[in-house]
Symmetry: C2
Subunit: 336 residues, 2 copies
Amino acid sequence: MRICDIGEFGLIDRIARSLPPPGEGVIVGIGDDVAVLRSSERHILATCDIQVEGVHFLRDKIRPYQLGRKAVAINVSDIAAMGGLPRYLLVSLVLPKETEVEFVDGLYEGMREECSRWGAAIVGGNMAHSPGGIVVDLFLLGEVEPGWLLQRSGAQVGDRVLVTGTLGDSAAGLALLLHPEASCLDIHREFALCRHLTPLPRLWEGRAVARSGLATAAIDVSDGLAGDIGHICERSGVGVRIWAGALPISNAARAVAEAVGADPLEWALSGGEDYELLFTTPAGRAEELARRVYEETGTPVSIIGEVVPADQGISLTRPDGSTLPLRKSGWDHFLK
Amino acid sequence: MRICDIGEFGLIDRIARSLPPPGEGVIVGIGDDVAVLRSSERHILATCDIQVEGVHFLRDKIRPYQLGRKAVAINVSDIAAMGGLPRYLLVSLVLPKETEVEFVDGLYEGMREECSRWGAAIVGGNMAHSPGGIVVDLFLLGEVEPGWLLQRSGAQVGDRVLVTGTLGDSAAGLALLLHPEASCLDIHREFALCRHLTPLPRLWEGRAVARSGLATAAIDVSDGLAGDIGHICERSGVGVRIWAGALPISNAARAVAEAVGADPLEWALSGGEDYELLFTTPAGRAEELARRVYEETGTPVSIIGEVVPADQGISLTRPDGSTLPLRKSGWDHFLK
């Protein structure tokens, strides 16, 4: 049996089942993007996320500076989804010997800038040479006040599903990288590329959601909305109905989709890499929570669906009232 | 300019100079194998170490179980060299899609066993697919009592240099993997292969050294004795004279060296991957410290040299009294 037969999440399940209970110091263990470790004052958050040349990025499509910013941002996004703050970064680099020093300089410039933006410090790491491409593996430590911790597991039937910002922009940016000849307004091109190459983690939005005490579950949109809401459903033992008409899709994503002949709804549902914050809250508090986050951060929040019983699965309701099931999984690293 | 022109340590220096001061929470930052972060009761230790297929291991020369054990052990060794205890492990895997699930099972069996041996728990990680070979990148969190922290920076002129166990065995094991036809006693073959494939981190020895309060500096021997003592010299602003006749070389390493026509002294000085603990202590306390570690752990400790002024550099004194300079650097990932 090969790992492409069972997929990334099948493999993670298999590993999780094989491990002994991790002990009482571990609040969230294997299977999540972030481990949560009990500490005396604030819980410790530990996460890692990797960028592999040829899989996550192409050398000629992203500048080293952008790669550095993005690699940090996607880890900060994981900390944001737990309601925490990033603190310390370790950088593990695998580099071909012929790599230009300027590449490393640019990479670190980007990592430094992104870290400083979010109050984190680069404190160490490791280097090894690569017989193949470049690998940038970052390990980020953060912290969260025990009462503020956001998890995937608390969504309740009847809750509303909320999301920050807009969905599908990163997929639009990727489409433009792969089809630079596509014709659209410069302002849309710029926006989509920026969202793909240097995504903005929703750290202050995560803090606002955590501080409110109103969220029942949260995650960041990295694999795609359909896949990431699936993680909440699995952990919370619920289903979700997404309202297609309520999905926040930017004019840029619509314009790029039209230019390349793609469906912006499809991008919003499964494009991935938007790094928006996705969370649930009781129906009666949804408007209030959306307003609070907007007032504190300036970031619009949309109410995009509702939590339903698990046996109803994950579905999409179209504006005409018709409903279709959504594939639960988003991006899977190993499935064929 | 390419990274092979300035080398791994030249690149790390360049990066370290480009970073802003990391803030008062960081006791040891970039440039060390382990970051030390101030915390309310115990300091947090954070380290990462990677195994890259074709660089650190060959698929047909190591079983997945052994690779799992080794990948954990070398990280535990870094924690041991700081006097700490390992607590939480994150596992970042980059795998070709065709990887057999049994490979991952074996890898995790090894990691699980090695973690459980040292009291650590696997709490999370990340997976990505690889367009090339396998990469196993581990992030290990540990802790240390503030008064017990061992650093590289405190060696004083006149101190003695001590090392646990024996040196050169891992190089002997590697030589046997590359020359399986070499003829030597089974017991020597077994020992050398075991030391290379499943090294034993000196965790309890590190705790004994830390508890004693007698060590002025410490590091683990990963790049090779000459290179690692060089890190102590650099951070402490001293030189070192190693006594060749005092180097602990096992009968196995001598036998394998003879079988493959190599020099066991060369292996002991620069073979690397022995994961012994190397530390310094005032001359008058060296015998006492060696005895204490032996009594507490059963591991022999050798006194192998003395700390000298920085301008004398790093040298080797032969049994006949002649002295020659040692190259400061051991293994460098990028130098040509």
